[in-house]
Symmetry: C3
Subunit: 134 residues, 3 copies
C-alpha cells in the first residue's frame, strides 16, 4: 500500500514526522514488514536523528549552514534565490528515501530515533511524502 | 523481480537514468509497489536531483569537487589515481541505494525529480545497477 | 521476516558486517528479493564501501574527522562528550538504512563492495541493527 501525506513546513529546519508515519503504520494493521518514506522534492530531505535534545538538531542545522553557505560566489544557479542551491546540495548530502522495518505492528526505531523532514528552503508551506508499506 | 542494467557513463558527473528505470517499471506491469535501485560500485553513487535546470547539477558537482579536492596530502590510498579516494568519499556522502514507491504503474517521483547515476571517476565506460521491483 | 542483530563495536571506525548479513540472507532461504538493513542509533551509521584495501577506509575516516572536528566552538550540544555532536553530523551525512537486492540466494553486492557499520563514538561496545528480508 502507498499513502500520500502532505506535511506542513512552517519554517526552514528539521520537522519531526515520526507520529504522522507511526499513525499510517498503525492504520495499515501490518504486523511485520517494511515502511519506506519517499520525499517528492529536491530542496528538502529526510533524516533520522535524535529526538530527545533539541540542541542536537540546532547544532546539526547550523553546522550544515556553515558547510553550505548561501551566496557562494561559485554558484550559477541563483534565479530561485540564495537559499535554492544550498538546498539542493544539502538534499544530496542527506536522504530522499528512508526504509524502516516494522516489528510487532510498530516502526522499529531505536529509543532516541525520530524521523525528520528537513526543509532547506526559507519560504515553503508544505511538502509531499509517499509512504510505502508491505 | 530483480533486473540488472548496465549504464553507459561517458564522463565524470551526473547521468540521468530516470527513463531507463521508468521503462523497467512499465515493463514489469506493476500497479503499486516499491522500486529499489542499487549501484554495484563504491566510486560512483545514486542521487535524486532537479532535472529541469542543468545549472543546478553543474553547481552541485563543482561544490562537491571543492569539498573533496583531489591530491589531498592526507590521502594514503593513491595507487588508483588522484580521482579514486575523492570518489569513495563522495560515494559515502551520497547514496548507494534508493527506494521509490510505484503508484498507478509509474515511479512516484515529484515534478522536478530525476534519478541520477553520479560517476565520480574520470575514466569509466559503464556501471551496473540492480533494480528490485515488488 | 525481520531479524534483530547485535554488532560488537570495539572501537570508533568502520566495522565490516557483510558476513553477518550474508549469513542471515542464506539462512532465510530467499532466492530473489530485497534485504534492508536498518541501524537503530543516531551516533553511528551504515555505508557500503570498498572492502579490499584498508587504506581507503582509513582515508575515508580521517577525511570525515577533518570535515567534522570535535570541539567546534559553535556546538552547544556538548553534555555527552566532544565526540557526540560530530557523531550525529556524520550519521546525517551517511546512511541509517541500506537496501540491497538478493539474487540467486545471495546479496547482490558488487565485487569490491562491503557493508560497514560506522561507529562514530569513541566508547561503545555494541549496536543493534534490524534486517528485513522479503
Amino acid at each position: 500500500m502507498v499513502k500520500r501525506l502532505r506535511i506542513p513546513v512552517p519554517a526552514q529546519g528539521l520537522h519531526e514526522i515520526t507520529d504522522a508515519i507511526a499513525e499510517v503504520v498503525l492504520g495499515a494493521g501490518l504486523t511485520e514488514g517494511l515502511c519506506t518514506i519517499f520525499l517528492r522534492h529536491t530542496s528538502a530531505s529526510l533524516t533520522i536523528q535524535e529526538n530527545a535534545d533539541p540542541s542536537a538538531r540546532h547544532d546539526l542545522e547550523s553546522w550544515f549552514n556553515r558547510l553550505v553557505p548561501e551566496n557562494d560566489p561559485h554558484f550559477t544557479h541563483t534565479d530561485e534565490g540564495p537559499d535554492d542551491m544550498p538546498s539542493h546540495i544539502k538534499a544530496a548530502l542527506t536522504s530522499t528515501s528512508l526504509s524502516i522495518p516494522v516489528i510487532d505492528g510498530r516502526l522499529g526505531l531505536g529509543t532516541w530515533q525520530g524521523i525528520f523532514l528537513w526543509e532547506h528552503r526559507r519560504t515553503r508551506s508544505s511538502r509531499e511524502i509517499l509512504i510505502h508499506l508491505r
